[in-house]
C-alpha cells in the first residue's frame, strides 16, 4: 500500500516537473480552496486592529469560502510563538519580526515560499528589496513577505532650529555644525540612542558594513570605525545625549518634551506625538548623507506560514492577499503602517519614511544576532561613559560576531 502511494507521489511529482515552466499551477485553483485559517500577530493599538479588520473584510469578499480566525497574541510574542512551534501547532499565518527572522528560518519552523510564488504567479518584484531581503535565509529562499515597513528618518523641532538660526542638517558634517549652534544657545541638538539599531544607519551612510556578503565579520573595517567615532564624538562634544541621560525612556519623548531638537526614529513616532504631545511641532526629513551617500535602516515584519501549518493553501491565499497591492492598500491607508510595496501609494504625511525605503538596509542578520548587538551596545555605552574607546567597540563587536558564527 505504502509502496503504491510512494509510486503515485513520484509519478505526480514527475508529471509536475514535466509540466512546470509554462503557466504553472497545474493543480492549484484559488477559487476551490476553503476552510479556516488561523492568523496571529501582536496588536500595537486599537487603530491597528481596525485597519487589520478592514483588510480581512476585503479578503472575505474576495475568498468567501475561507474563514479567518484572528488570534492576536498579548505579551511576549517570540516566547509564545516558540511554545507553539515546539508543540508543532503554529498558527497558519503569523507575524515574523525581521530581527528574529534569521533565527526562526534557521530553526526550520517557517515555510519557504519560492516554489509557490513561481508556480502560483505571485509577483514579488514590487517589494522594496530592503524589506524583502530581511526574510531570505542563508539558502537564498524567502520565508515571508513584508506586510509593511518602516525606515529611520530625521524628525526635528522647527522652532528650536529657527531659534538657533540653523537649517536641518543634510550631511554628517552639517550635523556637527548644527550641534554646535544649538549648544551655544544652551540646547541639546540630538537625542540619540546608544544602540546598534540606530548607529548602523550611520555606519552604512559612511560606507561601512557589519557583515560581508558571505556573512563574515571581515566587513568591519576602518569605515565602520570612522562612523562609530563620528557618532561617539557628538556625545563627547555635548551635541548629543542619550534618552537615559535626558531622563526619558526613548527619543520620541525627548522630542516631545523639547529636551532635544532632532531625533532619528521611524513612523511609530507619529502616533506617539499625536497622542502624547499633540501641540509640539515636528517635521520629517530623510537621513543626512554620509561619506558614501544616503542610507538608513529598514525595520519590517512579515506574514509567514508555519512549516507545520495544516491549511497551507488557504494560508497562502491570505498571505498573498494581505501582502499584495489590494490588502496592503487597505491596511496602510489609514496611516497605521507604511507600505512595503512600490505599487501601494504612501499614506498622507508618510512620504519621507516611505521613500527612504529605496536606500534602506534590512535589520536582519544572522541567527543569534541579539548577542552581537548586545556586545556593540554595551561597548558603545562604556565608550560614552569614557570607559572604553572606539577600538574597543570595534573589537568587541567583531569578537561577538565571530563567536556567534563559530558557535558549537
Amino acid at each position: 500500500m505504502r509502496r503504491w502511494l510512494l509510486l503515485l507521489a513520484a509519478t505526480a511529482l514527475a508529471a509536475q516537473a514535466c509540466g512546470g515552466g509554462g503557466g504553472g499551477g497545474t493543480t492549484f485553483n484559488a477559487d476551490s480552496v476553503s476552510g479556516t485559517v488561523v492568523l496571529s500577530g501582536w496588536q500595537a493599538s486599537p487603530e491597528e486592529g481596525a485597519a487589520l479588520n478592514a483588510a480581512l473584510a476585503g479578503f472575505k469578499a474576495k475568498y468567501p469560502k475561507i474563514t479567518v480566525d484572528y488570534q492576536p497574541i498579548a505579551g511576549d510574542y517570540p516566547t509564545a510563538m516558540v511554545a507553539k512551534f515546539s508543540a508543532h501547532q503554529p498558527p497558519d499565518v503569523f507575524y515574523v519580526d525581521s530581527g528574529v527572522a534569521p533565527d526562526w528560518i534557521k530553526q526550520g519552523v517557517l515555510q519557504s515560499l519560492d516554489d509557490w510564488s513561481s508556480s502560483r504567479n505571485f509577483d514579488t518584484s514590487q517589494f522594496y528589496s530592503g524589506y524583502l531581503n530581511a526574510f531570505k535565509g542563508s539558502d537564498g529562499k524567502t520565508y515571508g513577505y513584508p506586510k509593511d515597513g518602516n525606515t529611520l528618518a530625521m524628525a526635528y523641532n522647527p522652532d528650536m532650529l529657527t531659534a538657533a538660526g540653523v537649517q536641518p542638517p543634510t550631511t554628517y558634517d552639517e550635523m556637527t555644525t548644527v550641534g554646535a549652534a544649538l549648544k551655544s544657545k544652551g540646547m541639546v541638538a540630538y537625542s540619540m540612542s546608544t544602540t546598534l539599531d540606530r548607529i548602523l544607519a550611520f555606519i552604512y551612510g559612511d560606507g561601512g558594513n557589519l557583515l560581508s556578503s558571505d556573512k563574515k565579520s571581515d566587513a568591519i573595517d576602518s569605515k565602520f570605525k570612522d562612523a562609530v567615532s563620528f557618532y561617539l564624538n557628538l556625545f563627547k562634544m555635548g551635541y548629543a545625549k542619550s534618552p537615559s541621560q535626558l531622563g526619558v525612556d526613548w527619543n520620541g519623548k525627548a522630542l516631545g518634551e523639547k529636551k532635544a531638537a532632532i531625533i532619528f526614529e521611524g513612523g511609530w513616532l507619529d502616533s506617539y506625538m499625536k497622542g502624547t504631545f499633540p501641540s509640539v511641532p515636528y517635521k520629517w526629513v530623510a537621513m543626512p548623507k554620509g561619506a558614501s551617500g544616503q542610507a538608513t535602516l529598514g525595520f519590517t515584519v512579515s506574514y509567514s506560514i508555519g512549516k507545520d501549518s495544516p491549511h497551507k493553501d488557504a494560508a497562502w491565499l491570505l498571505l498573498t492577499y494581505l501582502t499584495g497591492p489590494d490588502g496592503m492598500k487597505i491596511w496602510t491607508q489609514g496611516g497605521v503602517a507604511n507600505p512595503s510595496r512600490k505599487d501601494v501609494p504612501a499614506p498622507a504625511g508618510k512620504d519621507v519614511l516611505v521613500n527612504s525605503a529605496a536606500f534602506a538596509h534590512p535589520w536582519s542578520f544572522i541567527p543569534g544576532f541579539s548577542k552581537v548587538s548586545d556586545a556593540f551596545n554595551n561597548a558603545f555605552e562604556a565608550a560614552v561613559e569614557g570607559k572604553g574607546t572606539v577600538d574597543d567597540v570595534v573589537s568587541k563587536t567583531k569578537s561577538a560576531l565571530d563567536q556567534q558564527l563559530n558557535q558549537p
Partner: protein, 311 residues
C-alpha cells in the same frame, strides 16, 4: 486474651490507616515535586549535553556547551555582577530586616500597623515597583530633587545624576531598591523567631543588670541564630536569581555596559532570544551548582539548628 488481642489489632490497623492517609496526603505534592523539580533538574542536565533548538535536539555535544559558557566574557560579567549583588544586598537586607523586627517587637501600640506597613513593599509587584523606581531615580526624578533640596547638586556627580543609566551606579541602585522591598519579608522571619525567645531569659538578664544594648548583643542576637540561617539562605538564593529588576531597568541586554547583566538574565537571553535551549540548560545547571554550594556553605557557617519561628 482474645479481647486484648483484638484491641491491639484494631489499634494497629488504625495506625496503619492513619499512616496510609498521611502518605496519601503527601503523595500528590511529592509527585509534583519529583516531576517538576527533581525530574526537571535531571531533564535539564540531559538537555544541556545537546544542541537543542525549538524543535528539539539536533546534535550531541557532550560538555561543549559548558566549555563555551566558561569561555564567554559576558557570562563572566554576569557571574561577577550576581555575586557582587549578593554579597552587598544580603547583609543589608538582614540588617534592615532585623532592625525593623526588633523595633516592631518593642512597639505595643499600633504594632500590626507597622508590621503591615514595613511588609507592604514585599507584597507589591516587583515589576510595578521597579517601574516607579526608574522614574524616581531618573536624572530629573524625585531622588535628585530631594538631593537638591538638601543642597547637593546631582549634576556634579560623575554619573550626572543618571543613577540607573550609568554603569557605575546602576547595579548599586538596584541593590538599594531590593534592600528596601525585601527587608519586610526578612522582618517577618525575624519577628517569628523573636516571639519564640522565652521571656525568662530577658527577666534574668534584667535582674543581672544588663542594659538594652548588652541584652540585644548577648541574648537576642545569638538566640536568633536559626532565623539568621533561614534569612541568609533565603536571601542568598533570591539574590543569585535576581532577574526582574535587572530586566525592567536595563532591558534584556543588561544595559548600561552589561552592569545589569545577571546570571538568570543571561540564561533568559540564551533560551528566548537566541533559542539555544541546550546552552540555556547548561547555564541553568551551572547556576544550580553555584546556589547549591552557597547553601551548603551557609549551613556549615550558621549551623543547622531548627527553625523555631511562629508555628
Amino acid at each position: 486474651m482474645l479481647g486484648i488481642g483484638r484491641a491491639r489489632g484494631s489499634l494497629g490497623t488504625e495506625r496503619a490507616q492513619e499512616a496510609l492517609a498521611g502518605y496519601g496526603f503527601i503523595a500528590i505534592p511529592m509527585a509534583l515535586f519529583l516531576i517538576f523539580n527533581i525530574g526537571a533538574l535531571f531533564y535539564s542536565a540531559y538537555i544541556s549535553l545537546w544542541r537543542w533548538e525549538i524543535l528539539g535536539p539536533t546534535e550531541f555535544l557532550g560538555f561543549r556547551n559548558y566549555a563555551f559558557i566558561l569561555r564567554d566574557d559576558v557570562f563572566h560579567i554576569a557571574i561577577k555582577n550576581s555575586i557582587y549583588y549578593t554579597i552587598i544586598v544580603v547583609p543589608i537586607q538582614m540588617a534592615i530586616g532585623l532592625t525593623l523586627a526588633v523595633v516592631v517587637n518593642e512597639i505595643w501600640r499600633g504594632r500590626s500597623f507597622f508590621r503591615a506597613a514595613f511588609y507592604f513593599p514585599a507584597i507589591a509587584s516587583s515589576a510595578a515597583i521597579t517601574v516607579l523606581y526608574i522614574y524616581i531615580m531618573a536624572p530629573d526624578g524625585l531622588f535628585n530633587h530631594l538631593l537638591e533640596l538638601i543642597g547637593v547638586n546631582p549634576l556634579g556627580f560623575h554619573n550626572q545624576g543618571n543613577w540607573l543609566g550609568h554603569s557605575d551606579t546602576a547595579l548599586n541602585s538596584i541593590i538599594g531598591l531590593n534592600a528596601w522591598t525585601t527587608s519586610g519579608t526578612m522582618m517577618l522571619f525575624y519577628l517569628g523567631q523573636l516571639t519564640a525567645i522565652p521571656t525568662e531569659v530577658y527577666e534574668a538578664a534584667r535582674a543581672d543588670g544588663a542594659g538594652p544594648w548588652t541584652t540585644f548583643w548577648r541574648i537576642t542576637f545569638p538566640l536568633l541564630r536559626p532565623a539568621h540561617y533561614l534569612v541568609a539562605t533565603v536571601s542568598v538564593i533570591g539574590a543569585l536569581q535576581m532577574f526582574d529588576q535587572a530586566y525592567i531597568a536595563g532591558g534584556s541586554g543588561g544595559d548600561p555596559a552589561y552592569s545589569l547583566m545577571t546570571m538568570v538574565l543571561y540564561l533568559y537571553n540564551s533560551a528566548f532570544r537566541q533559542f539555544e535551549f541546550g546552552y540555556a540548560a547548561a547555564v541553568g545547571i551551572v547556576l544550580f551548582v553555584i546556589i547549591f554550594t552557597a547553601t551548603l556553605v551557609q549551613r556549615r557557617l550558621f549551623g543547622s539548628s531548627d527553625w523555631q519561628g511562629a508555628r
